[in-house]
Structures are given as structure tokens and as C-alpha cells.
């Protein structure tokens, strides 16, 4: 599988479906941690969906985003569909932007993605405002994209780890 990044000369195995399932389930569990202790943190499911939409676009599409978003909504006891909505447009954004994003390293990607994450959270809040009629949100809601941007290089490295071969190719 070709990795159209200009700087990575790393050999990568194809993505593993089992690893994708495990990481997405763990991400949902992370999203279900009660947040009383530390205010509002990163959205783990959105972070993980971003990775898989970027690295395995054939597996991680709109349908998967819808399903997992609904799972988070059920687990949180939130309005059914609010997280799913954010997840759907996140996957859309990542896949549309994918050819450009893959040219950047993790920090460059984070600098792009922070706007996408902020946009889908804004969309989520706006749709909630129109449909449910409530605009109040947690104190750290707008910090979530920043958290996610700071975590992205680490998360990206962690999720990519099983695909690493260890060797490198010389440029043609």
C-alpha cells in the first residue's frame, strides 16, 4: 500500500481491522468516563475516527461514524444523534481533505485538524440549539479541539504502531 507522504520513508504494513475495532471501542469507553473530575477533555472517538478515516478510508466511512456516534450518545444518555452528527461530518472532512493532510507530519496535521474538530463541535452545538433548543455546554467544551491537537501526534503514533515494519525504503 503506498503511503503518499513526501517525508515518510517508513515501510508500513496494511492497517489491521482488529486493531481498528479495539481502538474504536477503547475510544468510546474513554468518552464515557464521567467528566466531573477534570472538566471537559478530548473527544476520544472523534480523535480515533480521524485517524482511521485518514489511514483506512475504505473501512472508516459515514456508516461507521453514524453507528459509533450513536453508541456514545446512548452511553452518555445524551440526545440520540448529537455525537453521530459530529462524527459523520468529521469523517467527511477528513476524507475530503485526505490528499492534503497526508502530506504533513503529525504536528502539521494537528494544525489542520484543530479547525475541523472545532467546526464539527460548532456544528453539533448549532444543531442542538436548533433542534433541542438548548445552547448551554460544558465549561471546557471549546478546549476539546486544543486537547485533541496536542494529543494527535501521540495518538497518531500509537495507532500507527502495529503497522510499522521497522525498515525504511530509500527514495526512488
Amino acid at each position: 500500500m503506498d503511503q503518499p507522504t513526501h517525508r515518510s520513508r517508513e515501510l508500513l504494513n496494511p492497517p489491521l481491522r482488529g486493531w481498528m475495532v479495539v481502538t474504536l471501542l477503547v475510544a468510546i469507553a474513554l468518552d464515557l468516563i464521567p467528566r466531573h473530575w477534570f472538566g471537559w477533555g478530548p473527544e476520544a472517538l472523534l480523535l480515533t475516527l480521524t485517524f482511521w478515516a485518514l489511514r483506512a478510508p475504505a473501512w472508516c466511512g459515514v456508516g461507521l461514524a453514524l453507528l459509533l456516534g450513536l453508541a456514545v450518545d446512548v452511553g452518555r444518555g445524551a440526545v440520540l444523534g448529537q455525537t453521530a452528527l459530529a462524527a459523520i461530518w468529521l469523517v467527511w472532512g477528513v476524507q475530503t481533505w485526505r490528499p492534503r493532510l497526508l502530506w504533513f507530519g503529525p504536528w502539521g496535521q494537528a494544525a489542520h485538524l484543530v479547525w475541523l474538530w472545532a467546526a464539527v463541535l460548532l456544528l453539533q452545538m448549532a444543531v442542538r440549539w436548533v433542534v433541542v433548543g438548548e445552547i448551554d455546554h460544558g465549561r471546557g467544551y471549546w478546549l476539546a479541539p486544543l486537547w485533541m491537537a496536542l494529543l494527535w501526534p501521540l495518538w497518531h503514533g500509537l495507532l500507527l504502531w502495529p503497522q510499522r515494519v521497522g525498515g525504511s525504503v530509500s527514495p526512488p
Partner: protein
């Protein structure tokens, strides 16, 4: 071979934009059906069976934290707290005797006047399991459900006053929406002047008194209690204190600081208002 044929044909699937738009329509329909019409509770209950293991996994850090807290228990602090609680218990016992005497007098006088006896309440003690991870709501989940007699709409109180209302009930747990949740409404009264109105949750730690009946005779520092006019909340539970009045004339905005912050308690009391005994 068929795979190759399909691959070579120019069959096109929907573009991701179309798929996202279709999924959005579906999600919008879900949100409206859930938030506006509450049609999806059975679906939610069904799906929750699959999500429950993940919920348990997500609560693992909290359980670990609680275990660590128990291990590092400070015995001296607990003894001090115990002594303080015992002092409070004695004071409350005296107040309870006075209250019982007043209730007897009240019942006798009401009987003399031929009035119906006042409603009374049945308390259900509950413990907070966790607060909702949903960023948009101010809710906690408690360890009492329909098996223990909890119903939707019951008032939830703590030491200083009203905390919120039961908004979703399952057999073993239920969900309490806190007063400050945007859109929560409580019929209240200002005992000093008798003014009645409706408090609206405003998020964070504020409540706004709106829809005041009659002339607005409210001043800063006034106590606000439940009026009991809804038939759900028992009357006279402290709700908060007026801190600011914005605007003048017919419809000023009265800001109320809640008497009780629901997030800080582990133990809560659910109050069921029972009809007056005949």
C-alpha cells in the same frame, strides 16, 4: 471473476458527500424524535444493552480513584466529621420534635376548620453513581430506580435545598437533571412577599425568575422556595437566593443563586409527594 468484473465495470457508489447528507437527515430525524417527542426510549434501552460493557469500562478509572481514596482514608478527619454530624443530628432532632408538634397543632386546627390535611412526602435515599459525560447536560445518575419506587418527575433534595428532578428512570438506576440545566423549570415562591413565578435553569450556576405572577415585589437577598403548585415538588423546599435584578417595570429579570449545588453531593434524597391521607 465476478469481483474482477465488478471492479472493471464503471458502477459508481454514492459519493461521501451524498452519504454524509443522507446520514445527516437520518440523524436529524433521530434528534427531533428523541428530544422533542421522546419516542426513542425503547430504542435507547435496547441499544444500551450493547453499550453497557463500554460504560462499565469507562467508569473503571472512577472506581479505581474511589478505591485509592478509601485506602488513604484520614481517620482523624473522619472522626472530626463524625462528631460534627452528631452535633447536627442532635440539633435536627430538636427541630424534628418542634416540627412534629407544629404538625399536630396544624392538623387539629385544619380539622376544626374543615380543611383537607396537607400533603406529606416519602423520602428515598439514593447515592450518586456518576455524573453524565454529556457536555451539554447537567445530570447525575443515582443508584435507585423504578424497582425502588422512583418515578419520573420526583424532586431530589440535599441538605441545603432542591437539587433537581428525576428525568429518566430505569429499573436499577435513574437520571437526575440538575436545576441549573438549561430548560429546567421550577414553580417557586418568594416567602417574604408571597410572589410566585417560574425559575428557569440557565446553565453554570444561575437561575432566572420569570413569568412572575402579579407585581414583582422581589429584592436582592430574598429567599426563593418551591411553591408546590405543580403538584410534583413539595412546597417550601429552599431553591436559592435572589442575587441580582436586571431591568425594571413589568418583567424584570431576577437572577437567583441556587441554594444547593447538586454536583458536590454523593448522597441525595428523592422526595415523593403523596396525596393527603383521607
Amino acid at each position: 471473476m465476478p469481483k474482477t468484473a465488478a471492479h472493471l465495470s464503471f458502477r459508481r457508489s454514492l459519493s461521501i458527500t451524498h452519504r454524509a447528507l443522507i446520514a445527516t437527515l437520518f440523524v436529524l430525524a433521530l434528534m427531533v424524535a428523541d428530544a422533542r417527542f421522546h419516542w426513542l426510549e425503547p430504542l435507547r434501552d435496547g441499544l444500551s444493552v450493547f453499550v453497557r460493557p463500554l460504560v462499565a469500562l469507562g467508569q473503571l478509572p472512577v472506581r479505581v480513584w474511589e478505591a485509592v481514596e478509601r485506602l488513604t482514608l484520614d481517620v482523624v478527619a473522619v472522626q472530626q466529621e463524625n462528631a460534627e454530624l452528631r452535633r447536627q443530628l442532635h440539633q435536627l432532632a430538636v427541630q424534628a420534635w418542634e416540627g412534629a408538634a407544629a404538625r399536630r397543632d396544624n392538623a387539629a386546627l385544619r380539622a376544626l376548620l374543615g380543611l383537607t390535611p396537607p400533603p406529606h412526602t416519602r423520602p428515598i435515599a439514593a447515592e450518586v453513581l456518576y455524573d453524565s459525560p454529556d457536555p451539554f447536560s447537567r445530570r447525575v445518575v443515582i443508584d435507585r430506580g423504578s424497582n425502588h419506587g422512583v418515578r419520573v418527575g420526583l424532586a431530589v433534595v440535599a441538605t441545603n435545598g432542591l437539587v433537581g428532578q428525576v428525568t429518566r428512570v430505569q429499573p436499577l438506576v435513574s437520571e437526575v437533571t440538575l436545576l441549573t440545566h438549561e430548560g429546567m423549570r421550577v414553580p417557586v415562591q418568594v416567602p417574604r412577599t408571597g410572589v410566585r413565578g417560574i425559575l428557569w435553569g440557565q446553565g453554570e450556576e444561575w437561575l432566572a425568575l420569570r413569568d412572575v405572577l402579579g407585581e414583582v415585589r422581589v429584592a436582592e437577598g430574598d429567599e426563593v422556595v418551591t411553591s408546590g403548585l405543580d403538584g410534583l415538588y413539595p412546597p417550601g423546599i429552599p431553591v436559592g437566593r435572589v442575587v441580582r435584578i436586571e431591568g425594571v417595570g413589568v418583567a424584570p429579570l431576577v437572577w437567583v443563586a441556587p441554594a444547593e449545588r447538586g454536583e458536590q453531593w454523593r448522597q441525595l434524597l428523592i422526595l415523593e409527594r403523596l396525596p393527603a391521607p383521607q
